[in-house]
Symmetry: C2
């Protein structure tokens, strides 16, 4: 099954303790679609300015991502985010945000886009996410959001959530959305807002997923070189959704493997700046890391007799 | 095999968002020995004051913990810690510490104590840990420490580490000890200081263990009611060491199951204040939670063919 993703295609200027990059291709839809493209057909809905050129296009086209629904606005510039990470790579400090073309973005979907069976609503304004959702008769809708929308547009976000099957957010976002520190309680609150499944990204600590009846958690793939955490969450979502699309299932066993593929894609993403690592990723590498995650989390049954 | 533990037997005054308790029995050796007593014979080396009475004694004796090496000092009071937790239960704020009898503690071990095959050095002054270590011809030595000793007695700590086989500390302590934010790199640095194995406790995120050749990680048992995190780390260490003692093995498969038993014991500890929950814990409950941790971390193999 093919996936439609709406989100940002942006330029990022990044500084981490290990180096910096000026205006490299980023954005939630970019990271998501590159990761998901290893698993299924992906189509991107987004808007870019005239600074989006052949080099940027190649990132999508090399991965056979369909960008025919990518709107280009002449005379304007693409969304630009400038940020910085300290040694605690879990926390980004935003230095500058220029919405540019995104300020007036009204997603207009092609007929082909409207037919997509799977939809991923990347982290953009909840109203835009809802507009796209209403235009697509998707069988499965997943979404991301962030603290900014949780704080500034809570009502719109709540409306959007009613149409979402799987919410994929991080730890602190789940706690903020539910206004509850304990993650198990936060998950229960979020599952009452609409989504049938919550996926929680925990950065270096891994990921977890909750439904009303089930729970699964995995540690992250252990990395000693995390260069740039930008896009980790979207790469995770891309691997997660891509795998579900590839096997056309959302049963618990499929979702668990999808969480692992998501973790694997995120682990590659952070090894280099931008999409650099993902662009030369191979299936052998993906499958090897999946097996490794299985090996480092496996333990045998035991039973402790009364002593 | 039996375990000897040296550490604190103390009174704690605690405040959490869910309630408070005045002068309840606590201390690293207390939590460790109660948890480990479900798996093997345990003997405690510590010092208490005249405020340690029959009620406190019963916590040990009800669990068949040997307290014949517990030194009692007349006319003095036991170690007292007063602390507070906010909603982020990972961080304790110390309000008051009264060393009392601990200020002049010189561990004097009985002949039986010196014969212990397994030794756990609970979180006390590294010099005291070393003194005990030198008196015991243990086949396996595990130790805990904390940021306070990492900062204030780094040389003593480094000396102590040379005699330790397994170091069991938390996330932030591992980073501080290695002066390295990345946990994989921090682990490698710590493994070069003496211990052949590092066990990292990550609170609500679970636990991980490193040797030079292996890695294993598990998420924590998901709890929606964490009442009092005091003693979680020592209960973990007690379950971990207790299981290794019970099956008399430190091979990788045994250590992995020991990490799970440690996680299980910690998860029970935090459900109520002090040792309250642990005192009425059953083997059925322990084994059920072990099986549950296995069920919520299990996923099947997969192989992604090139798409």
């Amino acid at each position: 099954m093919s996936i439609l993703v709406v989100g940002s295609v942006a330029f990022d200027s990044l500084k981490t303790p290990f180096g910096e990059r000026e205006k490299i291709l980023g954005g939630s839809a970019t990271y998501f679609s590159v990761a998901a493209s290893f698993f299924t057909d992906v189509r991107v809905v987004a808007v870019v300015g005239e600074d989006f050129g052949p080099d940027e296009e190649a990132v999508f086209l090399d991965r056979q991502v369909d960008i025919s629904d990518l709107e280009r606005v002449e005379g304007e510039r693409s969304f630009h985010w400038k940020g910085e990470y300290g040694y605690d790579l879990n926390v980004a400090r935003t230095l500058d945000t220029q919405l540019n073309v995104f300020a007036r973005f009204k997603p207009r979907l092609s007929e082909a886009a409207r037919q997509s069976p799977l939809l991923f609503l990347g982290n953009i304004q909840p109203d835009l996410q809802m507009e796209v959702c209403e235009q697509v008769g998707a069988r499965l809708v997943a979404a991301d959001t962030m603290n900014y929308w949780i704080d500034s547009t809570p009502l719109e976000l709540r409306r959007m959530l009613k149409g979402v099957d799987i919410l994929i957010i991080n730890d602190s976002e789940a706690r903020a959305l539910a206004e509850e520190h304990n993650l198990v309680r936060a998950a229960r609150a979020i599952l009452s807002m609409g989504p049938a499944r919550l996926v929680v990204k925990r950065g270096e600590y891994g990921a977890a997923t909750f439904t009303r009846e089930s729970y699964f958690a995995t540690p992250a793939y252990p990395l000693e070189d995390v260069f740039d955490p930008t896009g980790a969450g979207d790469s995770f979502a891309g691997g997660f959704m891509g795998y579900l699309a590839a096997i056309n299932s959302t049963d618990e066993a499929a979702v668990r493997r999808a969480i692992i593929y998501g973790s694997v894609m995120a682990s590659f993403d952070v090894e280099e700046f931008g999409c650099e690592r993902m662009r030369r990723l191979t299936y052998d590498e993906i499958n090897a890391r999946f097996r490794e995650l299985r090996a480092i989390t496996h333990f045998e049954e035991a039973e402790m007799p009364p002593f």
